[in-house]
Symmetry: C2
Subunit: 271 residues, 2 copies
Protein backbone atom coordinates (compact mmCIF):
# COMPACT_ATOMS: atom_id res chain seq x y z
CA UNK A 1 0.00 0.00 0.00
CA UNK A 2 1.24 3.46 -0.94
CA UNK A 3 -0.16 6.42 1.00
CA UNK A 4 -0.90 9.41 -1.17
CA UNK A 5 -1.98 12.84 0.02
CA UNK A 6 -3.86 15.51 -1.91
CA UNK A 7 -5.51 18.73 -0.78
CA UNK A 8 -7.83 20.67 -3.03
CA UNK A 9 -11.08 22.48 -3.63
CA UNK A 10 -13.81 21.80 -6.22
CA UNK A 11 -11.94 23.51 -9.05
CA UNK A 12 -9.25 20.84 -8.93
CA UNK A 13 -11.37 17.71 -9.01
CA UNK A 14 -10.97 17.19 -12.75
CA UNK A 15 -7.19 17.64 -12.72
CA UNK A 16 -7.04 15.30 -9.73
CA UNK A 17 -8.87 12.60 -11.68
CA UNK A 18 -6.47 13.04 -14.58
CA UNK A 19 -3.49 12.77 -12.25
CA UNK A 20 -4.97 9.69 -10.58
CA UNK A 21 -5.73 8.06 -13.93
CA UNK A 22 -2.12 8.46 -15.00
CA UNK A 23 -1.01 7.13 -11.61
CA UNK A 24 -3.22 4.03 -11.84
CA UNK A 25 -2.33 3.27 -15.46
CA UNK A 26 1.39 3.45 -14.86
CA UNK A 27 1.36 1.68 -11.50
CA UNK A 28 -0.92 -1.25 -12.10
CA UNK A 29 0.86 -3.51 -9.61
CA UNK A 30 0.33 -1.04 -6.73
CA UNK A 31 -2.58 -0.28 -4.50
CA UNK A 32 -2.99 3.22 -3.14
CA UNK A 33 -4.47 4.68 -0.03
CA UNK A 34 -5.50 8.14 -1.15
CA UNK A 35 -6.09 10.75 1.53
CA UNK A 36 -7.82 13.99 0.67
CA UNK A 37 -7.70 16.92 3.08
CA UNK A 38 -10.35 19.52 2.30
CA UNK A 39 -12.65 22.12 3.80
CA UNK A 40 -15.26 22.67 1.13
CA UNK A 41 -15.94 19.64 -1.12
CA UNK A 42 -19.54 18.51 -1.50
CA UNK A 43 -20.71 15.03 -0.55
CA UNK A 44 -21.42 14.06 -4.16
CA UNK A 45 -17.94 15.16 -5.17
CA UNK A 46 -16.39 13.02 -2.46
CA UNK A 47 -18.60 10.08 -3.41
CA UNK A 48 -17.55 10.47 -7.04
CA UNK A 49 -13.86 10.47 -6.09
CA UNK A 50 -14.39 7.50 -3.81
CA UNK A 51 -16.08 5.54 -6.61
CA UNK A 52 -13.41 6.54 -9.11
CA UNK A 53 -10.65 5.36 -6.80
CA UNK A 54 -12.39 2.08 -5.94
CA UNK A 55 -13.02 1.37 -9.62
CA UNK A 56 -9.26 1.35 -9.95
CA UNK A 57 -8.74 -1.00 -7.03
CA UNK A 58 -7.49 1.60 -4.55
CA UNK A 59 -8.86 3.20 -1.39
CA UNK A 60 -10.05 6.72 -0.80
CA UNK A 61 -10.34 8.56 2.51
CA UNK A 62 -11.47 12.15 2.79
CA UNK A 63 -10.79 14.18 5.89
CA UNK A 64 -12.87 17.30 6.34
CA UNK A 65 -11.13 20.11 8.17
CA UNK A 66 -13.65 22.27 10.00
CA UNK A 67 -13.44 26.04 10.29
CA UNK A 68 -12.47 25.85 13.92
CA UNK A 69 -9.26 24.06 13.07
CA UNK A 70 -6.10 26.20 13.03
CA UNK A 71 -7.93 28.84 15.02
CA UNK A 72 -4.73 30.52 16.10
CA UNK A 73 -3.27 30.52 12.61
CA UNK A 74 -2.77 33.83 10.84
CA UNK A 75 -4.23 34.14 7.36
CA UNK A 76 -3.07 36.08 4.35
CA UNK A 77 -4.93 38.23 1.91
CA UNK A 78 -5.34 35.75 -0.94
CA UNK A 79 -4.86 32.53 0.97
CA UNK A 80 -7.13 30.52 3.20
CA UNK A 81 -6.06 28.27 6.02
CA UNK A 82 -5.77 25.47 3.48
CA UNK A 83 -2.19 26.60 2.94
CA UNK A 84 -1.38 24.85 6.22
CA UNK A 85 -2.82 21.45 5.30
CA UNK A 86 0.30 20.28 3.59
CA UNK A 87 2.75 21.25 6.30
CA UNK A 88 0.55 20.18 9.16
CA UNK A 89 -0.86 17.05 7.56
CA UNK A 90 0.89 14.98 10.22
CA UNK A 91 -1.62 16.38 12.75
CA UNK A 92 -4.60 15.45 10.59
CA UNK A 93 -3.66 12.00 9.35
CA UNK A 94 -3.92 8.72 11.29
CA UNK A 95 -1.50 8.73 14.22
CA UNK A 96 0.19 5.48 13.24
CA UNK A 97 0.94 6.45 9.64
CA UNK A 98 4.67 6.60 9.00
CA UNK A 99 4.94 8.16 5.60
CA UNK A 100 2.80 9.68 2.90
CA UNK A 101 3.52 11.18 -0.48
CA UNK A 102 1.91 14.52 -1.18
CA UNK A 103 1.39 15.35 -4.87
CA UNK A 104 -0.11 18.47 -6.46
CA UNK A 105 -3.03 17.75 -8.76
CA UNK A 106 -1.49 19.66 -11.69
CA UNK A 107 0.74 16.67 -12.45
CA UNK A 108 0.88 13.48 -14.47
CA UNK A 109 2.45 10.32 -13.05
CA UNK A 110 3.93 8.64 -16.09
CA UNK A 111 6.12 5.92 -14.56
CA UNK A 112 6.21 3.69 -11.46
CA UNK A 113 6.22 5.70 -8.28
CA UNK A 114 7.35 3.01 -5.87
CA UNK A 115 11.02 3.95 -5.88
CA UNK A 116 10.19 7.50 -4.85
CA UNK A 117 7.86 6.30 -2.13
CA UNK A 118 10.49 4.01 -0.68
CA UNK A 119 13.36 6.49 -0.54
CA UNK A 120 15.27 6.25 2.72
CA UNK A 121 14.19 9.40 4.56
CA UNK A 122 16.69 8.93 7.43
CA UNK A 123 16.02 11.77 9.87
CA UNK A 124 14.81 14.20 7.22
CA UNK A 125 11.34 15.67 7.60
CA UNK A 126 10.67 15.71 3.88
CA UNK A 127 12.07 14.68 0.55
CA UNK A 128 11.51 17.24 -2.20
CA UNK A 129 13.05 18.60 -5.36
CA UNK A 130 14.25 22.09 -6.02
CA UNK A 131 14.03 23.56 -9.46
CA UNK A 132 17.60 24.12 -10.37
CA UNK A 133 17.29 27.18 -12.55
CA UNK A 134 19.73 29.71 -11.21
CA UNK A 135 17.28 32.57 -11.38
CA UNK A 136 14.63 30.81 -9.32
CA UNK A 137 17.11 29.98 -6.59
CA UNK A 138 18.67 33.43 -6.43
CA UNK A 139 15.44 35.38 -6.44
CA UNK A 140 14.05 33.34 -3.62
CA UNK A 141 17.24 33.47 -1.62
CA UNK A 142 17.10 37.27 -1.69
CA UNK A 143 13.37 37.37 -1.10
CA UNK A 144 13.47 35.24 2.02
CA UNK A 145 16.68 36.72 3.50
CA UNK A 146 17.80 36.46 6.34
CA UNK A 147 16.54 32.86 6.33
CA UNK A 148 19.36 30.73 5.03
CA UNK A 149 18.11 29.00 1.93
CA UNK A 150 20.49 26.74 0.08
CA UNK A 151 17.92 25.67 -2.43
CA UNK A 152 14.35 26.72 -2.96
CA UNK A 153 12.36 23.52 -2.83
CA UNK A 154 9.15 23.08 -4.74
CA UNK A 155 6.33 21.94 -2.48
CA UNK A 156 4.36 20.24 -5.27
CA UNK A 157 5.82 16.83 -4.52
CA UNK A 158 6.64 16.09 -0.89
CA UNK A 159 7.49 12.76 0.57
CA UNK A 160 6.71 13.11 4.27
CA UNK A 161 8.42 11.48 7.23
CA UNK A 162 5.41 11.70 9.52
CA UNK A 163 7.15 10.25 12.57
CA UNK A 164 9.92 12.80 12.39
CA UNK A 165 7.43 15.59 11.70
CA UNK A 166 5.41 14.74 14.81
CA UNK A 167 8.59 15.13 16.82
CA UNK A 168 10.12 18.18 15.19
CA UNK A 169 7.49 20.40 13.60
CA UNK A 170 5.76 22.82 15.93
CA UNK A 171 2.75 24.53 14.43
CA UNK A 172 3.46 27.62 16.52
CA UNK A 173 6.78 28.11 14.77
CA UNK A 174 4.89 28.12 11.50
CA UNK A 175 2.23 30.54 12.68
CA UNK A 176 4.88 32.85 14.14
CA UNK A 177 6.83 32.79 10.91
CA UNK A 178 3.74 33.71 8.88
CA UNK A 179 2.85 36.50 11.30
CA UNK A 180 6.32 38.00 11.04
CA UNK A 181 6.66 37.69 7.27
CA UNK A 182 3.16 38.44 6.06
CA UNK A 183 4.26 41.04 3.57
CA UNK A 184 6.98 38.87 2.03
CA UNK A 185 5.16 35.63 1.39
CA UNK A 186 4.25 34.85 -2.19
CA UNK A 187 3.61 31.10 -2.12
CA UNK A 188 3.08 30.72 1.62
CA UNK A 189 3.34 26.97 2.09
CA UNK A 190 6.37 26.75 -0.13
CA UNK A 191 7.95 29.75 1.54
CA UNK A 192 7.39 28.27 4.99
CA UNK A 193 8.81 24.95 3.89
CA UNK A 194 11.96 26.60 2.63
CA UNK A 195 12.48 29.20 5.33
CA UNK A 196 11.93 26.87 8.27
CA UNK A 197 12.79 23.38 7.04
CA UNK A 198 15.16 23.74 4.13
CA UNK A 199 17.94 21.93 5.99
CA UNK A 200 15.68 19.05 6.90
CA UNK A 201 14.70 18.25 3.35
CA UNK A 202 16.29 15.42 1.47
CA UNK A 203 16.91 16.45 -2.13
CA UNK A 204 15.47 14.35 -4.89
CA UNK A 205 16.06 14.79 -8.60
CA UNK A 206 13.56 17.22 -10.05
CA UNK A 207 13.90 15.65 -13.51
CA UNK A 208 12.65 12.36 -12.10
CA UNK A 209 10.16 13.46 -9.48
CA UNK A 210 9.08 17.01 -10.12
CA UNK A 211 9.76 17.72 -13.77
CA UNK A 212 8.76 21.30 -14.57
CA UNK A 213 7.26 20.94 -18.05
CA UNK A 214 8.24 24.50 -18.95
CA UNK A 215 11.93 23.59 -18.72
CA UNK A 216 12.25 20.80 -21.29
CA UNK A 217 14.90 22.59 -23.32
CA UNK A 218 16.78 23.71 -20.24
CA UNK A 219 16.94 20.21 -18.77
CA UNK A 220 17.97 18.80 -22.11
CA UNK A 221 20.78 21.28 -22.70
CA UNK A 222 22.07 21.13 -19.13
CA UNK A 223 22.26 17.34 -19.33
CA UNK A 224 24.23 17.38 -22.56
CA UNK A 225 21.26 16.05 -24.49
CA UNK A 226 20.57 13.07 -22.23
CA UNK A 227 17.16 14.31 -21.09
CA UNK A 228 15.52 14.28 -24.49
CA UNK A 229 11.87 13.36 -24.96
CA UNK A 230 12.61 9.66 -25.13
CA UNK A 231 14.46 9.80 -21.83
CA UNK A 232 11.75 11.87 -20.15
CA UNK A 233 8.94 9.54 -21.20
CA UNK A 234 10.89 6.50 -20.06
CA UNK A 235 12.28 7.87 -16.81
CA UNK A 236 10.43 10.83 -15.41
CA UNK A 237 7.92 9.79 -12.78
CA UNK A 238 6.10 13.06 -12.15
CA UNK A 239 5.49 15.74 -14.77
CA UNK A 240 4.52 18.99 -13.07
CA UNK A 241 2.52 21.58 -15.01
CA UNK A 242 3.90 24.50 -13.01
CA UNK A 243 2.99 28.09 -13.59
CA UNK A 244 -0.19 30.00 -14.24
CA UNK A 245 -1.10 28.39 -17.54
CA UNK A 246 -2.65 24.99 -17.00
CA UNK A 247 -3.19 22.28 -19.62
CA UNK A 248 -6.89 21.95 -18.84
CA UNK A 249 -7.43 25.58 -19.84
CA UNK A 250 -8.00 26.85 -23.36
CA UNK A 251 -5.01 29.17 -23.55
CA UNK A 252 -2.43 26.49 -22.76
CA UNK A 253 0.51 25.72 -25.03
CA UNK A 254 3.40 23.47 -24.40
CA UNK A 255 5.31 20.36 -25.31
CA UNK A 256 3.35 18.06 -23.03
CA UNK A 257 -0.08 19.41 -23.99
CA UNK A 258 -1.08 16.48 -26.23
CA UNK A 259 0.05 13.96 -23.61
CA UNK A 260 -1.94 15.74 -20.92
CA UNK A 261 -5.04 15.84 -23.11
CA UNK A 262 -4.61 12.15 -23.83
CA UNK A 263 -4.76 11.28 -20.14
CA UNK A 264 -7.55 13.78 -19.60
CA UNK A 265 -9.66 12.10 -22.26
CA UNK A 266 -9.15 8.64 -20.78
CA UNK A 267 -9.74 9.92 -17.26
CA UNK A 268 -12.95 11.79 -17.92
CA UNK A 269 -14.52 9.56 -20.57
CA UNK A 270 -14.69 6.29 -18.70
CA UNK A 271 -14.74 7.25 -15.07
Amino acid sequence: MINLLVTLDSKYIKPLKVMLKSLFLNNQEEKFNIYLLHSSLKDYELEDLNQYTENHGSLFTSIHIGEDYFQDAPTLLHYTKEMYYRLLAFKLLPKDMERILYIDPDTLIINPIKELYEIDLEEYLFAAAYHDKITVKEINRIRLYPYDIQAYYNSGVLLMNLDAQRQHIDENDIFAFVEENKSKLIMPDQDILNALYSKNIKSIDEKLYNYDVRFYRYYKIMSGGLWDMDHVIRNTVILHFCGKKKPWNKDYRGLFYALYKHYERIALDNS
Copy 2:
Protein backbone atom coordinates in the same frame (compact mmCIF):
# COMPACT_ATOMS: atom_id res chain seq x y z
CA MET B 1 -13.47 -7.79 -38.40
CA ILE B 2 -11.68 -4.79 -39.82
CA ASN B 3 -9.16 -5.44 -42.61
CA LEU B 4 -6.04 -3.37 -42.30
CA LEU B 5 -3.23 -3.13 -44.82
CA VAL B 6 0.38 -2.15 -44.24
CA THR B 7 3.44 -2.38 -46.46
CA LEU B 8 6.93 -1.89 -45.12
CA ASP B 9 10.51 -2.95 -44.78
CA SER B 10 12.54 -3.76 -41.64
CA LYS B 11 13.19 -0.13 -40.79
CA TYR B 12 9.50 0.42 -40.13
CA ILE B 13 8.77 -2.49 -37.82
CA LYS B 14 9.10 -0.43 -34.66
CA PRO B 15 6.86 2.40 -35.90
CA LEU B 16 4.37 -0.21 -37.06
CA LYS B 17 4.22 -1.71 -33.57
CA VAL B 18 3.66 1.74 -32.10
CA MET B 19 0.89 2.42 -34.59
CA LEU B 20 -0.70 -0.97 -33.87
CA LYS B 21 -0.47 -0.44 -30.11
CA SER B 22 -2.34 2.84 -30.40
CA LEU B 23 -4.87 1.15 -32.67
CA PHE B 24 -5.48 -1.72 -30.25
CA LEU B 25 -5.68 0.50 -27.17
CA ASN B 26 -8.21 2.85 -28.69
CA ASN B 27 -10.28 0.17 -30.42
CA GLN B 28 -10.64 -2.47 -27.76
CA GLU B 29 -14.03 -3.67 -29.00
CA GLU B 30 -12.71 -4.42 -32.50
CA LYS B 31 -10.81 -7.31 -33.97
CA PHE B 32 -8.43 -6.67 -36.84
CA ASN B 33 -7.22 -8.69 -39.75
CA ILE B 34 -3.84 -7.17 -40.45
CA TYR B 35 -2.31 -7.81 -43.87
CA LEU B 36 1.32 -7.03 -44.48
CA LEU B 37 2.67 -6.85 -48.03
CA HIS B 38 6.44 -7.05 -48.13
CA SER B 39 9.41 -8.24 -50.12
CA SER B 40 12.22 -8.36 -47.59
CA LEU B 41 11.15 -9.03 -44.01
CA LYS B 42 12.87 -11.86 -42.18
CA ASP B 43 11.01 -14.83 -40.75
CA TYR B 44 11.74 -13.83 -37.16
CA GLU B 45 10.43 -10.34 -37.83
CA LEU B 46 7.22 -11.73 -39.24
CA GLU B 47 6.87 -14.14 -36.33
CA ASP B 48 7.37 -11.26 -33.91
CA LEU B 49 4.65 -9.21 -35.61
CA ASN B 50 2.36 -12.22 -35.69
CA GLN B 51 2.84 -12.79 -31.96
CA TYR B 52 2.39 -9.12 -31.17
CA THR B 53 -0.88 -9.00 -33.09
CA GLU B 54 -2.21 -12.22 -31.58
CA ASN B 55 -1.35 -11.00 -28.09
CA HIS B 56 -3.80 -8.21 -28.76
CA GLY B 57 -6.52 -10.55 -29.97
CA SER B 58 -6.19 -9.81 -33.68
CA LEU B 59 -4.98 -11.71 -36.73
CA PHE B 60 -1.87 -11.21 -38.82
CA THR B 61 -1.24 -12.33 -42.38
CA SER B 62 1.95 -11.58 -44.26
CA ILE B 63 2.12 -11.82 -48.02
CA HIS B 64 5.55 -12.03 -49.52
CA ILE B 65 5.90 -10.48 -52.95
CA GLY B 66 8.64 -12.19 -54.94
CA GLU B 67 11.05 -10.39 -57.24
CA ASP B 68 9.35 -11.77 -60.30
CA TYR B 69 6.19 -9.93 -59.47
CA PHE B 70 5.58 -6.69 -61.40
CA GLN B 71 8.18 -7.77 -63.92
CA ASP B 72 6.95 -5.30 -66.53
CA ALA B 73 6.82 -2.42 -64.09
CA PRO B 74 9.24 0.45 -64.56
CA THR B 75 11.30 1.44 -61.54
CA LEU B 76 12.63 4.79 -60.46
CA LEU B 77 15.99 5.85 -59.17
CA HIS B 78 15.24 5.90 -55.44
CA TYR B 79 12.20 3.68 -55.39
CA THR B 80 11.75 -0.06 -55.56
CA LYS B 81 8.75 -1.90 -56.87
CA GLU B 82 7.22 -1.68 -53.42
CA MET B 83 5.77 1.64 -54.50
CA TYR B 84 3.17 -0.38 -56.40
CA TYR B 85 1.99 -2.51 -53.49
CA ARG B 86 -0.49 0.04 -52.29
CA LEU B 87 -2.13 0.74 -55.60
CA LEU B 88 -2.14 -2.85 -56.77
CA ALA B 89 -2.96 -4.43 -53.44
CA PHE B 90 -6.25 -5.65 -54.92
CA LYS B 91 -4.23 -8.08 -57.03
CA LEU B 92 -2.34 -9.42 -54.04
CA LEU B 93 -5.08 -9.73 -51.42
CA PRO B 94 -7.67 -12.52 -51.16
CA LYS B 95 -10.03 -12.38 -54.13
CA ASP B 96 -13.17 -12.23 -52.03
CA MET B 97 -12.09 -9.32 -49.86
CA GLU B 98 -14.30 -6.30 -50.39
CA ARG B 99 -12.56 -3.54 -48.56
CA ILE B 100 -9.38 -2.86 -46.65
CA LEU B 101 -7.96 0.17 -44.94
CA TYR B 102 -4.36 1.01 -45.77
CA ILE B 103 -2.50 3.03 -43.12
CA ASP B 104 1.08 4.33 -43.15
CA PRO B 105 3.14 3.19 -40.18
CA ASP B 106 4.17 6.77 -39.26
CA THR B 107 0.81 7.33 -37.62
CA LEU B 108 -1.00 7.01 -34.31
CA ILE B 109 -4.61 5.84 -34.12
CA ILE B 110 -5.99 7.73 -31.17
CA ASN B 111 -9.74 7.15 -31.48
CA PRO B 112 -12.15 4.47 -32.77
CA ILE B 113 -11.59 3.70 -36.42
CA LYS B 114 -14.83 1.91 -37.18
CA GLU B 115 -16.64 4.90 -38.62
CA LEU B 116 -13.87 5.45 -41.15
CA TYR B 117 -13.83 1.78 -42.08
CA GLU B 118 -17.56 1.75 -42.70
CA ILE B 119 -17.78 4.84 -44.88
CA ASP B 120 -20.06 4.28 -47.86
CA LEU B 121 -17.61 4.02 -50.76
CA GLU B 122 -20.33 3.99 -53.44
CA GLU B 123 -18.54 3.55 -56.76
CA TYR B 124 -15.36 5.29 -55.63
CA LEU B 125 -12.09 3.38 -55.84
CA PHE B 126 -10.68 4.93 -52.68
CA ALA B 127 -11.51 7.22 -49.83
CA ALA B 128 -8.66 9.52 -48.87
CA ALA B 129 -7.95 12.95 -47.46
CA TYR B 130 -6.15 15.78 -49.14
CA HIS B 131 -4.10 18.19 -47.11
CA ASP B 132 -5.87 21.42 -47.60
CA LYS B 133 -2.98 23.84 -47.39
CA ILE B 134 -3.20 26.07 -50.43
CA THR B 135 0.49 25.80 -51.18
CA VAL B 136 0.51 22.01 -51.24
CA LYS B 137 -2.41 21.88 -53.62
CA GLU B 138 -1.07 24.54 -55.99
CA ILE B 139 2.45 23.20 -56.17
CA ASN B 140 1.25 19.74 -57.01
CA ARG B 141 -1.29 20.96 -59.51
CA ILE B 142 1.48 22.70 -61.42
CA ARG B 143 3.88 19.84 -61.00
CA LEU B 144 1.55 17.21 -62.39
CA TYR B 145 0.09 19.35 -65.18
CA PRO B 146 -1.54 18.46 -67.61
CA TYR B 147 -3.22 15.89 -65.37
CA ASP B 148 -6.29 17.55 -63.92
CA ILE B 149 -5.90 17.50 -60.18
CA GLN B 150 -8.63 19.08 -58.10
CA ALA B 151 -7.02 18.11 -54.85
CA TYR B 152 -3.76 16.41 -54.06
CA TYR B 153 -4.69 13.42 -51.96
CA ASN B 154 -2.36 12.02 -49.37
CA SER B 155 -1.83 8.29 -49.84
CA GLY B 156 -0.99 7.63 -46.19
CA VAL B 157 -4.53 6.61 -45.32
CA LEU B 158 -6.51 4.88 -48.06
CA LEU B 159 -9.78 3.11 -47.65
CA MET B 160 -9.95 0.74 -50.62
CA ASN B 161 -12.98 -0.44 -52.54
CA LEU B 162 -11.38 -3.66 -53.74
CA ASP B 163 -14.33 -4.80 -55.86
CA ALA B 164 -14.36 -1.55 -57.80
CA GLN B 165 -10.57 -1.59 -58.09
CA ARG B 166 -10.59 -5.08 -59.61
CA GLN B 167 -12.95 -3.78 -62.25
CA HIS B 168 -11.44 -0.39 -62.97
CA ILE B 169 -7.73 -0.30 -62.20
CA ASP B 170 -5.46 -1.61 -64.92
CA GLU B 171 -1.87 -2.09 -63.88
CA ASN B 172 -0.74 -1.25 -67.40
CA ASP B 173 -2.17 2.25 -67.09
CA ILE B 174 -0.08 2.68 -64.00
CA PHE B 175 3.11 1.36 -65.56
CA ALA B 176 2.58 3.52 -68.64
CA PHE B 177 2.07 6.59 -66.50
CA VAL B 178 5.26 5.96 -64.58
CA GLU B 179 7.21 5.37 -67.79
CA GLU B 180 6.00 8.65 -69.28
CA ASN B 181 6.52 10.76 -66.17
CA LYS B 182 9.68 9.32 -64.71
CA SER B 183 11.38 12.68 -64.38
CA LYS B 184 8.45 14.37 -62.67
CA LEU B 185 7.56 11.91 -59.97
CA ILE B 186 8.51 12.83 -56.44
CA MET B 187 6.32 10.56 -54.34
CA PRO B 188 5.46 7.99 -56.99
CA ASP B 189 2.54 6.14 -55.44
CA GLN B 190 0.91 9.33 -54.31
CA ASP B 191 1.52 10.97 -57.65
CA ILE B 192 0.00 8.01 -59.49
CA LEU B 193 -3.00 8.01 -57.20
CA ASN B 194 -3.64 11.67 -57.87
CA ALA B 195 -2.85 11.81 -61.56
CA LEU B 196 -4.84 8.74 -62.53
CA TYR B 197 -7.55 8.32 -59.91
CA SER B 198 -8.17 11.73 -58.36
CA LYS B 199 -11.76 11.83 -59.61
CA ASN B 200 -12.46 8.37 -58.22
CA ILE B 201 -11.49 9.23 -54.70
CA LYS B 202 -14.05 10.02 -52.06
CA SER B 203 -12.84 12.87 -49.89
CA ILE B 204 -12.65 12.35 -46.16
CA ASP B 205 -11.78 14.99 -43.59
CA GLU B 206 -8.05 15.20 -43.09
CA LYS B 207 -8.47 16.57 -39.57
CA LEU B 208 -10.29 13.39 -38.60
CA TYR B 209 -8.53 10.74 -40.64
CA ASN B 210 -5.16 12.01 -41.78
CA TYR B 211 -4.19 14.80 -39.42
CA ASP B 212 -0.82 16.22 -40.46
CA VAL B 213 0.83 16.90 -37.10
CA ARG B 214 2.87 19.74 -38.56
CA PHE B 215 -0.28 21.77 -39.20
CA TYR B 216 -1.78 22.05 -35.71
CA ARG B 217 -1.80 25.86 -35.74
CA TYR B 218 -3.06 26.03 -39.30
CA TYR B 219 -5.99 23.69 -38.61
CA LYS B 220 -6.81 25.57 -35.44
CA ILE B 221 -6.82 28.98 -37.04
CA MET B 222 -8.71 27.87 -40.15
CA SER B 223 -11.42 26.33 -37.98
CA GLY B 224 -11.88 29.48 -35.93
CA GLY B 225 -10.30 27.85 -32.90
CA LEU B 226 -12.49 24.72 -32.91
CA TRP B 227 -9.64 22.33 -33.61
CA ASP B 228 -7.69 23.03 -30.45
CA MET B 229 -5.75 20.30 -28.66
CA ASP B 230 -8.78 19.16 -26.71
CA HIS B 231 -10.77 18.72 -29.90
CA VAL B 232 -7.95 16.90 -31.67
CA ILE B 233 -7.41 14.42 -28.85
CA ARG B 234 -11.13 13.73 -28.61
CA ASN B 235 -11.94 13.57 -32.31
CA THR B 236 -9.00 12.91 -34.56
CA VAL B 237 -8.72 9.25 -35.46
CA ILE B 238 -5.38 9.18 -37.26
CA LEU B 239 -2.45 11.44 -36.46
CA HIS B 240 0.02 11.37 -39.34
CA PHE B 241 3.67 12.25 -38.67
CA CYS B 242 4.27 13.51 -42.21
CA GLY B 243 7.54 14.87 -43.45
CA LYS B 244 11.15 13.91 -43.16
CA LYS B 245 11.50 14.31 -39.41
CA LYS B 246 10.04 11.34 -37.61
CA PRO B 247 9.18 11.11 -33.91
CA TRP B 248 11.25 7.97 -33.41
CA ASN B 249 14.39 9.84 -34.43
CA LYS B 250 16.56 11.95 -32.17
CA ASP B 251 16.19 15.24 -34.03
CA TYR B 252 12.41 15.33 -33.88
CA ARG B 253 10.49 18.25 -32.40
CA GLY B 254 6.81 18.89 -32.41
CA LEU B 255 3.58 19.24 -30.51
CA PHE B 256 2.74 15.54 -30.57
CA TYR B 257 6.22 14.31 -29.66
CA ALA B 258 5.44 13.46 -26.03
CA LEU B 259 2.26 11.64 -27.04
CA TYR B 260 4.13 9.61 -29.65
CA LYS B 261 6.85 8.69 -27.16
CA HIS B 262 4.18 7.65 -24.69
CA TYR B 263 2.72 5.14 -27.13
CA GLU B 264 6.19 4.06 -28.20
CA ARG B 265 7.13 3.27 -24.62
CA ILE B 266 4.00 1.20 -24.07
CA ALA B 267 4.38 -0.53 -27.43
CA LEU B 268 8.00 -1.53 -27.09
CA ASP B 269 8.18 -2.23 -23.34
CA ASN B 270 5.55 -4.92 -23.04
CA SER B 271 5.38 -6.50 -26.43
